[in-house]
Symmetry: C5
Subunit: 133 residues, 5 copies
């Protein structure tokens, strides 16, 4: 996953900013704004497929044209941010298990793997704590 | 509770996406977007009944057509997510007791059972801690 | 405080759903949706009085007809939920002291009592911890 | 700072409710609703001055008439609540330092003093902990 | 970074309030309101460049005229507040790593440095804890 920004001669430019194709998602009642480029970071994901299947899009938009998705909006944020910058950042009040449920739904396999590793590490460490207590 | 997604020949498809019937709920002033399929995961719940009782719906919609429910929106999220993916994920800043109050109001018996078990386990473990201190 | 739902012959019904009188409150800029039945659970509260004093209502509505209240919206949620289901559920990121300030403003005496008991218990227990340290 | 409510002969009345002058603030993109009476609890504050300087107001309103303020909305809430009920209630996920930055910006001297005392107490107590460790 | 407010003869004035140029940003679906003066506190940042490159602005506005940015809104708040008052205030439920990702995207070098120092201190201190355990 590469950065959106390139630095040239002291001037920095967000390269493809003018070429971006914006897409709005209505996830469980909350509107998210992003680009097709972001949603297609993983070309096999459900999010990338909705960018390309025009027929699918037509039947699933709300009155404002946003694409309808029947999932939780709060747990969608870390998924979308992962696609944006390639890092897994989970707010302290959210649970890894909840992000995993979304990563599986959206079929982003690298994120599913990352979350399963993190959950396993947490589990191992809590087992370790129990043993040493 | 089965997944919304099926995998066929390397291509994954969110099966019933084009056939979904979308419904908007105005829960205590916050709008949630979901489908009748999700709300009827438990056919005996209050949420499923409002999908089928057209007369009831007519008398309880707001000006935008969303169905009115006089309950807390934050505590509705884990209930709706449970219907969406079958997992009980409660944000760290919310209380199990609050989700139970909603599960009972919406009459989702499997979720009520799950929450009572979880609350009993927590209670047992805190009793255990007290005894060993 | 009784439940909104009655169970008859295996079919459960949210009794007064069609007879509900909906009311919108604009609390500090956030819109809440509820019913006069909920707001009048405590007939001596400020919230019940605004349902009945039509003259008062006329002079304090916003352009969408919502009743204006100059208070914090986040701390109003546990107060409104208490009227909805009779339980005191305070999110982990909120403070009891803040809910008490609202309960006093809205003049819900049973909730004020409940919060004062809870704050006293917390105080006693933290005193106890200090003594045993 | 006195309460908004007076109790007379068993009937309680929110005294000046019909005389309130409502004002909307657009703080960093989020709309807050309050009254001039609340904003002028501290007559020397920036918030009170914007209520009286009509010329200033004209040049800084958004299209809906809300007064524009280029500050964070989440950290404005405890400041506004302090003006409403005279208590300093800071949600557990916010930092005292952030509320102080806002109190200084809005020039509410009693709140600045209160926050500096609280931060000093916290600092002393953490110093004390370090010494006794 | 200097304050927005100057005090003269007992009367305090928010100096440039009438000269402010307001700008709306649509960050990932959430609208933020701020000024060009704030966005240009760091003249080399991406946020300042969007204020000056009119051509760029034209191709990236939403229907309400807000400038479109494909990033997380919650993690944008501490970045914008840093530009507003020069302090780094990170809510307890957010992660430093997430703010760093945004500071890098928006190319605010002083904030990137500040965050890297803070993350290094945290890392050193957790290493120290491990050694002394």
């Amino acid at each position: 996953m590469t950065s959106d920004a390139t630095v040239t001669n002291g001037h920095t430019k967000h390269e493809s900013s003018s070429k971006k194709e914006w897409i709005r998602l209505n996830v469980g009642g909350t509107t998210f704004l992003t680009t097709k480029q972001t949603l297609c970071k993983d070309p096999h994901s459900f999010l990338c497929r909705i960018c390309h299947d025009e027929q699918l899009i037509d039947s699933m938009r709300d009155s404002t044209g946003a694409f309808l998705i029947d999932r939780d909006p709060n747990y969608f944020s870390p998924v979308l941010n992962y696609l944006r910058h390639g890092k897994l950042i989970i707010d302290k009040n959210l649970l890894e298990e909840g992000v995993l449920a979304e990563a599986e739904f959206y079929q982003i396999s690298s994120l599913v793997r990352l979350l399963k590793i993190r959950l396993k590490e947490k589990d191992d460490s809590s087992q370790g704590n129990k043993r040493t207590q």
